[in-house]
């Protein structure tokens, strides 16, 4: 049956929970090949129908055309949905993505991501004042100024506002300004300790 591969791509994404990016499915190539074959068959049939008077070929031609449209729709849906997931990664993880996720992206997706990052950075830099505003921070309303955090992995020196720095070693606990910790918490380096 035509469009099986295209449907498989869509199904794979449909099954993946929100925010998750499965590895780029090379099946796209097969879909494009199927489209090429369908188109060539249609081209020859159209010629036959026109010159050879083979009107009986028309339903088949229409059917192949529908399959072509479906293949395109599935393909674009698959690619676009992945872009949306990749976009979400910038907001979740920051501008440097964990390696595990990078391996799931195609080179072109990486390029899209880099352009997106740059565009977003330009926009944020333009917001009020000279340094701009990083709107990827402050994702939750502030409840308190300082929060208790535990360090999950060795990170090294971390500078706090007034110039002092803390050494983030695995399992060390600190009482730090919330706004400094947000991104590290999202990256899994610090953990908010709720007592």
């Amino acid at each position: 049956m035509f469009c099986e591969k295209a449907m498989e791509l869509v199904r794979e994404l449909h099954r993946a929970p929100e925010g998750q990016l499965p590895a780029f499915n090379d099946g796209l190539r097969q879909v494009l090949e199927e489209m090429k074959a369908l188109y060539e068959q249609n081209q020859s049939d159209v010629n036959e129908a026109k010159s050879g008077g083979r009107g009986d070929l028309i339903p088949t031609i229409k059917f192949r055309h529908c399959s072509l449209l479906r293949n395109r729709r599935c393909t674009v849906a698959y690619l676009y949905d992945r872009l949306l997931r990749i976009r979400a990664l910038r907001w979740e993880y920051g501008s440097v993505l964990p390696n595990a996720l990078r391996f799931h992206m195609s080179a072109e997706e990486m390029e899209w991501f880099n352009h997106y990052k740059k565009s977003l950075a330009t926009y944020m830099r333009s917001l009020g004042g000279d340094e701009g505003l990083d709107i990827t921070q402050d994702m939750k309303p502030p409840k308190s100024l300082y929060i208790e955090v535990r360090c999950l992995k060795d990170y090294g020196e971390f500078e706090v506002d007034d110039g002092t720095s803390v050494l983030l070693k695995k399992n060390s606990q600190h009482f730090l300004p919330r706004w400094k910790c947000e991104q590290l918490i999202r990256q899994g380096i610090l953990e908010h300790v709720l007592s």
Binding site: L28, L32, M35, K36, Y39, L68, L69, R72, T75, V76, L79, Y80, L83, R87, S106, E108, E109, E111, W112, H115, Y116, S119, L120, T122, Y123, S126, L127, G129, L133, D134, I135, Q137, D138, M139, K140, P141, P142, L145, D162, R178, W179
Partner: protein, 165 residues
């Protein structure tokens, strides 16, 4: 910025500092949240947002800041280029163009919104939703609150006569 200057002048550990800081955090949160929301909407509806800007009449003000407009254009170009290079240009010639205005869903202007009336409005035409209904006319009293289809009152939001809540 004014608050940051105050912070620098106060003594470290002064209670004023904490309260200022807290207020700054709150302001930053609200501001970031607002700007994020705008960006999310721009990305979600990007072909329609850009089309609206393209067909904007002289003298009509834009819904986008110049920076947002630049961002929206870059987002569209980035996405179109990607789809073209990865898939569309490898497809049969008559299928290579995808109309994004048709493929990307439009914002649902028929969704219901809450509003408060700031300036009294008379004879607002409410169009029927189903074929059985007929259109009717309502007055909006100052200070009253309503749940109504966005499309009906869209121009009033733009003019400031009503405020969405």
């Amino acid at each position: 910025e004014h608050m940051e200057e105050n912070l620098r002048r106060a003594r470290k550990g002064d209670l004023k500092v904490s309260i200022h800081r807290m207020e700054m955090e709150r302001i930053r949160y609200v501001l970031s949240s607002y700007l994020r929301c705008r960006l999310t909407k721009i990305e979600k509806f990007f072909p329609h947002v850009l089309e609206k800007e393209k067909t904007r009449r002289e003298g009509e003000s834009s819904s986008l800041s110049p920076e947002e407009f630049a961002f929206a254009k870059e987002y569209m170009a980035n996405t179109e280029t990607y789809l073209k290079n990865v898939a569309l240009k490898h497809m049969p010639p008559n299928l290579q163009k995808v109309d994004l205005l048709r493929s990307v869903p439009k914002p649902d202007l028929d969704s219901y919104v809450f509003l408060r009336v700031k300036e009294r409005q008379e004879n607002i035409l409410v169009e029927p939703e189903t074929d059985e209904q007929r259109d009717y006319v309502i007055d909006l009293e100052e200070g009253s609150q309503h749940l109504i289809r966005y499309k009906t009152i869209a121009p009033l939001v733009a003019s400031g006569a009503v405020q969405l809540i």
